[in-house]
Symmetry: C2
Subunit: 274 residues, 2 copies
């Protein structure tokens, strides 16, 4: 079976382009799938973003992002759940394949990661009914353990799948190679996700050596140490043949370059090293 | 049962002191256990370091470090194994409780982490006989996944224990809270290590939010988000009541402060938040 198409996560061209410019840029390079961020959609307006998507026949492989469930008290947690309802509605308006969930870390001054993880499971459970009625699958994205404190306390595919098992078929995982490439249990975890039919997205970039910043020093595919073809083979063997979405946070390199250069490089690398 | 004593890993006072000054400084603050690095021992000379240890009745809770097994070819790997033989001899000369192993990452331009992990298991197997005859237990230190590429491709306690199971009783784990606090399977993994009687060391510091550098921005106990008392309880429940060793890499903060301030703070925090 042919591999899935390339999708551009619009974080990758954030340094150069807003939503409309990014769509034009992607189309110039033959890329017809995108995954925008909510702030990029808000900047142009949801209706206009949806119109552009429809007018150009784009596939929206995901909306980034919902999640961030842990809060300092019940009111805070409810506010966060309410925001996820809005995110689901926006994903539906854009016709997105899924809403990506970055689940959140330790709330306030908490050191109780087990409690934060319970808040995450409870938060996702609270939004599942609305996601189902809107027809938007929820893709839990396990984040690298270096983000456990401040971004996401779900840090392995297996941990995400444990949550999925309790919540039914509309909750799955977004597998981003950057976050999971190191996992000694990676092959088994991807196979498990495949058996559960819960692979909803496949994100790519690369891990640079050295990595100079915990958040914004991701590499272009081929510039780092991740065996992208090996992980793609695991994901395809697990039954997923959907898009590979390029998501690169890079304040000091790619975000400083012209958008056309970034997209052109993504396309070239996608065809050679992914 | 009373908890174990405080040990000072001499990386913590690296900014201010060499080996001899660090010993004097520790003794001024009532700290009688240390864990030096090989370069610190080499700088003063192994014989003199051993003499200072003996003259002051110090406990040496570990020598940092052996490991770094993956190499680009067989000759490179053998050179690394030979260096571990020297490290074992140095640990024996110092009367150290164990040799800490930071196992190494991807060799050369490799992207094959499975192969690197095999090189690690093979490398440890190659040094076990010498370690046994020298009476030096080998403590595999699982490092945080953010070091998988360039420092250690053993990244969880369970992964280290899988290696231990194949190699017999003289190979165990050094549990450093900084590297493992995020692990969703932490409690079960520590319990497993206890059942196997393989907890050889317990290192402490803290995870800062934000963390500004992947290597050298570790926090003083109490300044971050790790629930140190909860992890200590897991380790004690698993049967380990030995020293807690403070190991803080901190180029921009603690390494700039006077050694006495660093040790005094470690002692205070050890008594209150650990």
């Amino acid at each position: 079976m042919a591999r899935g198409q390339l999708s551009m996560n619009l974080a990758t061209t954030r340094g150069a382009w807003g939503f409309a410019e990014a769509v034009d840029g992607c189309l110039r390079h033959g890329v017809t799938a995108i995954s925008p961020w909510r702030d990029q959609v808000a900047a142009i307006g949801l209706d206009e973003a949806a119109r552009i998507v429809k007018a150009n026949g784009l596939r929206v492989t995901g909306l980034c992002r919902g999640g961030m469930f842990p809060g300092v008290d019940a009111a805070d947690r409810q506010k966060r759940i309410d925001d996820n309802f809005h995110a689901i509605d926006e994903a539906a308006a854009l016709g997105a394949d899924c809403l990506v969930l970055v689940v959140g870390g330790l709330p306030g001054s908490s050191r109780d990661i087990a409690e934060a993880r319970k808040m995450v499971a409870d938060g996702i459970a609270a939004i599942v009914p609305h996601a189902r009625s809107a027809g938007i699958p929820l893709a839990i994205e396990p984040l690298h353990p270096m983000y456990a404190a401040d971004r996401a306390c779900v840090n392995t595919i297996d941990q995400a799948l444990d949550i999925c098992e309790t919540l039914g078929e509309s909750v799955g995982v977004a597998i981003d190679v950057y976050h999971v490439w190191w996992d000694p249990n990676l092959a088994a975890a991807i196979a498990r996700a495949g058996r559960m039919k819960r692979i909803f997205a496949h994100h790519i970039c690369d891990w640079l050596v050295p990595t100079r910043d915990l958040l914004n020093d991701r590499g272009m595919m081929g510039d780092g140490v991740i065996d992208l073809k090996a992980i793609r083979a695991m994901i395809e063997a697990a039954g997923y043949h959907g898009p590979q979405e390029v998501e690169i946070f890079s304040t000091e390199n790619w975000w400083k370059r012209p958008g056309d250069e970034v997209v052109k490089t993504c396309v070239e690398r996608f065809e050679t090293v992914c």
